[in-house]
Symmetry: C3
Subunit: 206 residues, 3 copies
C-alpha cells in the first residue's frame, strides 16, 4: 500500500515541520529561519532513513508533496500567533506524534527494502529521531532525544508494535495506527507524568 505509506510519511513530515517552525519561533528566528528549521525537522529523518535503506534520491526530493507539507507547516506556524508557553507545550506533543508516524514508516520501508527485523527497528528509530535531532542541533539546543528520557524508547515501542502486528497478520492500516498510537501514548505519558529511564550508577557527582 504505497499511497497509505506515503500519506503517513507526509503527516509525519507536516507534524515534525510544525515542531521545527515552533522551535524557530521560540528562538525568535526570522521567516527564513522558520522555514529552514521546518525543512530540517520535517525532511531530515526521512532523508537519513532513505540513505540507510539505499532508496536514493530521498522521497522528499523525488516527490514535491513533501515540500508542500513543509511549506504548509511553516505557514501555519507563521500566521498563528501563540504564546510562548503554549509553543513549548505544543512542540513536545507534535514531536511525539511525528515520532510515531516516522517510526512506523521507517520500519515499513526497511522491511520493503528486504532488511531484517532488527535492522527495521534500527531504521525506524533513527528515521523517527533523526529530524528532531537535526532540528535541535541547528537550534543549538541539546537534542530532546538525549535529555528527555522516554524518547527513543517510545519510537522503539512503536516500531516493535507495528512490526509485530504486521507479523501476526494485521493489515497495514491498523498495524500502522497501532504503532503510531503506541509511540504517542508512551511519549505523552512520559511528558505528562515525568517518567524517567534509570540512570547509570555513579559513585558520586562532581
Amino acid at each position: 500500500m504505497p499511497s497509505l505509506l506515503t500519506s503517513f510519511d507526509l503527516v509525519g513530515t507536516f507534524v515534525f515541520a510544525l515542531s521545527g517552525a515552533l522551535v524557530a519561533a521560540r528562538k525568535d528566528f526570522d521567516v527564513v529561519g522558520v522555514f529552514v528549521l521546518s525543512l530540517a525537522a520535517g525532511l531530515g529523518g526521512g532523508a537519513i532513513r532513505d540513505v540507510l535503506i539505499n532508496d536514493l534520491p530521498p522521497a522528499a526530493v523525488e516527490n514535491e508533496s513533501y515540500l508542500v507539507a513543509v511549506l504548509a507547516a511553516a505557514t501555519v506556524a507563521y500566521v498563528i500567533p501563540e504564546r510562548i508557553e503554549r509553543i513549548n507545550y505544543s512542540v513536545r506533543y507534535l514531536d511525539a506524534l511525528g515520532l510515531g508516524f516516522f517510526a512506523v514508516v521507517g520500519s515499513q520501508k526497511a522491511v520493503d527494502a528486504d532488511l531484517g527485523f532488527i535492522a527495521a527497528l534500527l531504521v525506524g528509530v533513527i528515521a523517527a529521531a533523526g529530524g528532531g535531532v537535526i532540528r535541535d542541533l541547528l537550534a543549538s539546543t541539546t537534542p530532546l532525544l538525549l535529555h528527555q528520557d522516554i524518547y527513543a524508547l517510545a519510537a522503539l515501542l512503536g516500531s516493535v508494535a507495528f512490526l509485530a502486528a504486521s507479523e501476526f497478520g494485521l493489515p497495514y492500516a491498523p498495524a500502522a495506527i497501532l504503532g503510531v498510537a503506541a509511540t504517542f501514548l508512551l511519549r505523552a505519558a512520559a511528558i505528562r507524568y515525568h517518567l524517567h529511564a534509570p540512570r547509570p550508577r555513579r559513585q558520586r557527582k562532581r
Copy 2:
C-alpha cells in the same frame, strides 16, 4: 559542459574552504583544525548534494582536485596573517560567493539527474547552505543560515535565476554567472545594508 560545471564546483569549494579556515583561525584552532574546518565547509555541501541526487561516491571523493582546492584554501588562510576584524568581514563575503557557486552547481546537477524544477531548487539551496551549516556546527556557533536573515533566500534567488535563464535558452556559462551574481549581490546587500526578513508575529517576548 561537465568541465565548466566542475570548475564552478571547485571555485565554490575553494571559497567555502577559505571561509572554514578563517572561522577556524578566529576560533584559534590549530593547523589541523584549520584543515578540518576547511574540508567540512568546502566539501560538506557538495557531499550532501551528491547523496540527495544519488550520485555516489561524491565528486569530492572521486576527483582529487577537490582536496587540492581545500588544501590550497587552508594554506592561504594559514600563511596570511590577518587582523581578526578583517577575518570576520571576509568570512561573510566569501561565504556569499560560495553560496552562489554551490546554488548554481547544485541546481544543475539535480536537473542532470532528471529531478524536477522544485527539487532542483531544494537541492541547490541545500548544497549551497550545507557546507556552511556543517562548518558552523563544528565550530559550535549557531549556523549563519539561521540568524543571518537573507541567506537561504539568496541561494534560492540564485537557483531560480539560473534555472529560469537556462529554461529561456541562455547558454550554460552566462546563466550560471547570472545565478552566482544574483546570490552574491542579494547576500552582499543584506550584509551591507542589514536587510532582514520579517519575523513571525509573537504576542510578547519573554
Copy 3:
C-alpha cells in the same frame, strides 16, 4: 579477507561505542541516552564511510553484529561504576584505539571500492573521526577533533602506514595492525605529552 576486515570494524565499533557511553555517563544522561550516544559514536563514522564509498545500506544496517557490539559496549558502561576522573581518562584512550581501527578499515574499504590512494586517505580519516564528531555534537561539546591537536593527524598516519605497508606487499593482518598501532601510539603520545600542532600566525588575540 572480508571476515578480518569485519572483525576490525566490529572492534572499532565496540571501542567507539564505549567512548560514547562514557561521554553519556559523564553528562549524566539516562540509560537511553547512553545507548543513543553509543550508537552514534559506534556506527556514525562507518555509516558516513559507507555513504562516501557508495556501499549502501551501511554495514551496520545489513549486519546485526554491529548492533550487538554497540549493545555490549553500552551494557559494559552501564554496569561498571567508574569514578568521573577515570572516565574522562578512559574516553580519550578508547577513542584513540577506535580511531586506529576505523582509519584502517575505512582506507581498506575505499581501496576495495576502487578509489585512489588520496581518496582512501580521505575516507579513512573521515570514517575514523566521524563517529567521535557526531558523539561530541550530540553531547553539545566542541568535537575532540578540533580542540585536541593531534587527532585527525593520527588517523591520517594510520591510514598512510596501512596503505603504504599494503602497497609494499605486507599481508592484510600485519599491515592493519601496523596502521592501528601507528594511530594509537601517536594519539596516545599526544595525550600523554600534550603534543600540539602549530597554530596559524595571528597579529594579536582579541
